[in-house]
């Protein structure tokens, strides 16, 4: 039985796809057979972040509609043999994802995978609801910014009322992941701090990913940033994986680095 994890946020552009790529690669590298599914129907992008855009033949909707088998649609990652990608369809048909169709595919994947990561689209409409409905656990991605935190709270409400687990009287396990955290600005009081966000949302903190230029470089090349262990964002994602697996690690990258005289001049 696989564990189904949705990566969701409500607000767009906060780092769900970046996180889905990093988390799925991280779990796969730790030996878990993992599949990451792009639920952003019509706006496929996970394939670019995972560098498999040229290998997409069939997609999620093709499988739901019976035009291809799961094996035909799953793309095996070139860097990690435990990792598979199921790309989104580019159809404009919003109702292409049916609850029954999604359930059937998740059940089939559940038989052979340890983890199923669902990369949710932005918003709280159909696509986002399909991505979270079957989840066992949720990673709620939040930026230190008022609208993002409020939208995360909306999504938490939906997880607690409209997910399968909620309907069955149990609950989805929630994790908070703060991304694009700018330590310097938070220290100056220009941005919400980690403590502020955790206090407001009251969800256990899985990690804090710093704002980092390495994320753009990684997406340019189609390398999930977790593979760049020289970058602080890559290390922060690696820490989040270890916490997810139960380790108790101190949060890094939440205090501003003291700049030396040279970087003060050149940085």
């Amino acid at each position: 039985m696989a564990k189904i994890i949705v990566v969701t946020s409500g607000k767009g552009g906060v780092g769900k796809t970046t996180t889905s790529a990093a988390i799925s690669m991280g779990l796969a590298l730790s030996g878990k057979k993992t599949v990451v599914i792009d639920f952003d129907i019509g706006l496929r992008n996970l394939d670019l972040i995972m560098d498999c855009e040229r290998r997409v033949v069939f997609d999620f909707v093709n499988v739901i509609q019976g035009d291809a088998s799961l094996n035909q649609a799953l793309i095996k990652d070139k860097r990690c043999e435990k990792l598979f990608i199921l790309p989104a369809s580019q159809t404009r048909d919003k109702d292409a994802l049916t609850k029954e169709g999604v359930e059937k595919i998740l059940n089939e994947l559940s038989e052979t995978f340890d983890y199923i990561i669902c990369d949710s689209p932005a918003g709280i409409e159909h696509g986002a609801q399909m991505a979270l409905y079957f989840a066992d656990e949720a990673i709620v991605v939040t930026n230190p910014e008022v609208s993002s935190v409020r939208d995360s709270d909306r999504i938490l409400g939906i997880l607690q009322s409209k997910s399968r687990r909620a309907e069955q009287g149990s609950s989805v396990k929630e994790h908070l992941l703060i991304t694009r955290y700018d330590t310097a600005r938070a220290a100056k009081g220009e941005m919400l701090s980690v403590t502020d966000i955790v206090d407001i949302l009251a969800v256990p903190l899985l990690g804090v990913i710093p704002e980092s230029s390495s994320v753009l470089t990684a997406s340019n090349q189609g390398t999930p940033v977790i593979l760049d262990l020289k970058s602080n964002a890559g290390q922060a994602y690696a820490d989040a994986i270890r916490r997810f697996e139960g380790e108790d690690l101190e949060m890094r990258f939440i205090k501003p680095v003291k700049k030396g005289i040279l970087s003060r001049v050149f940085g």
């Binding site: 560098d51 855009e53 040229r54 035909q72 580019q90 997406s219 340019n220 090349q221």
Partner: protein
């Protein structure tokens, strides 16, 4: 293009990698947007016919329709097992 741009294009920066990857994806996407909706069905039926004679997979049959001036070209590419 200035002389500096010329130098920059040659470098294998991550932005250059991104540009090349995007050129391919966008060209493909624009082409797909224009394709008729019967294409998947056509592909399935062509595959079914070929399967009667040789053992091929869905992956081995590519069906594309492209436009050139006033004519549409149907392109079927089949990779046969060796």
């Amino acid at each position: 293009m200035s002389i500096f741009d010329r130098f920059r294009v040659k470098e294998n920066t991550s932005a250059n990698i991104a540009r090349e990857r995007l050129q391919i994806v966008v060209a493909h996407q624009r082409n797909k947007d224009k394709q008729p909706s019967y294409l998947p069905q056509l592909q399935r039926e062509i595959l079914a016919v070929i399967k009667k004679f040789v053992d091929v997979d869905m992956d081995d049959v590519a069906v594309d329709i492209s436009q050139e001036n006033m004519t549409s070209i149907l392109e079927v590419n089949v990779t046969l097992p060796s």
